[in-house]
Symmetry: D2
Subunit: 131 residues, 4 copies
């Protein structure tokens, strides 16, 4: 028997369409308001946090196989909900990320931010990659 390809999702747009079909086939549109999708995404982001909560930073770099797989599944869940939310709001993920990186490059120029991810003169709420 020929080996089956694992999957054929080669880019974000294909992922977007597959998730859309998945939700449509189950008539889940009514649950997928942006508000609910943002909630679900944030629940998954916390599930992604949980395996790390009692680990030291170094331990977090050396996850065992079981933990690595659990984290991999939670990362997948976050991407799935993020893609769905962006789809429902008609936001292009890569374009949004590219624009944000460009903005961050201006907010955190190398000469100011070298070796220092901590907030300098910004109000509370800023973190290094974002505003």
């Amino acid at each position: 028997m020929l080996p089956m390809p694992e999957h054929d999702i080669d880019d974000l747009d294909t992922l977007r369409r597959r998730i859309h079909e998945f939700a449509q086939a189950r008539a889940w549109d009514r649950y997928h308001t942006p508000k609910n999708l943002a909630m679900a995404l944030s629940v998954e982001a916390a599930e992604l946090l949980e395996p790390f909560q009692w680990l030291t930073p170094e331990e977090s770099r050396e996850l065992g196989a079981e933990q690595h797989e659990a984290v991999r599944q939670e990362i997948a869940d976050v991407l799935i909900y993020l893609t769905r939310l962006a789809d429902v709001l008609e936001i292009d993920l890569l374009e949004a990320a590219a624009d944000k990186l460009a903005l961050n490059a201006r907010k955190y120029p190398v000469d100011k931010a070298y070796g220092n991810a901590l907030k300098h003169s910004c109000p509370p709420g800023d973190s290094d990659f974002s505003e």
Copy 2:
């Protein structure tokens, strides 16, 4: 003057490399333990939640221009941290998402899950897209 192209990030792998370069140029590797990246991602996911917290589900479908842009930036932040975390853990985002969708199709077959995103016989902790 010729219009500048917005950006040239056409796929997730290019995004991954740009974020890697961004962090390297600022010597931020020491901050980017998986634990810290998971924390930062979860902070951004909550920032994404905030514009929706007092809106009704219907209002959440009709964001004004300013709110839509704020949400777009938070979506970008989540994708940036997710991509960075996956990079540090050597996880392929699209492959992980494809595997998870396949798993979900088995856990939530159309005949059981049609019109019903709520948990049926699963223990607390399950949501519709994920385990």
Copy 3:
């Protein structure tokens, strides 16, 4: 045999001491850095969110017995971690809350905030009860 009282935790300070003893007895101090405790609290807050994610606002007011009990346990978890974190940081919970309510009363005077929990002229990041 006389029925044992359910518990004898009548105030926050007693709760604080019981949690301290619980952690001490298990030699868990080394895990309980403020950073880790904040992470754990945020994981529990998301577990508290999860039962609500696909419910309409009205449905969320009418939880079934099983869901109500699940929510009750997650509320307990959040309080336990919050109390522990405040203890480790030597913060008095009621005093902090009272000060914050006083601050909120000034930021959201009744004449401005009546019937409107949405942000008016505040920068992103503000919600109604907090800054």
Copy 4:
């Protein structure tokens, strides 16, 4: 002039009533569905996480005055929303916490959990203080 007492909130029940009055005076009941309150709480829990995200565990034990005050305000926000949510759901906070501690003592007996906050034979989703 005699110094005014900072506040007169000496117990959780008084805090509960003050928050209720605060929301009533502003006609905010319609926003305070359990779903929205759980969302707001989870947003505040992430704001509490943010000051810690790039700190080492040791640094997190030695916050500067400004950071300590920021954390104190976020802790207050979490308590305020938790108290409000419990009030709306008619859940007694201390009773719920006491019951949960008793449950945890059974799930994490000292002889098994001594020096080890990590999950032993529990399914993913368990953390040390909670189920």
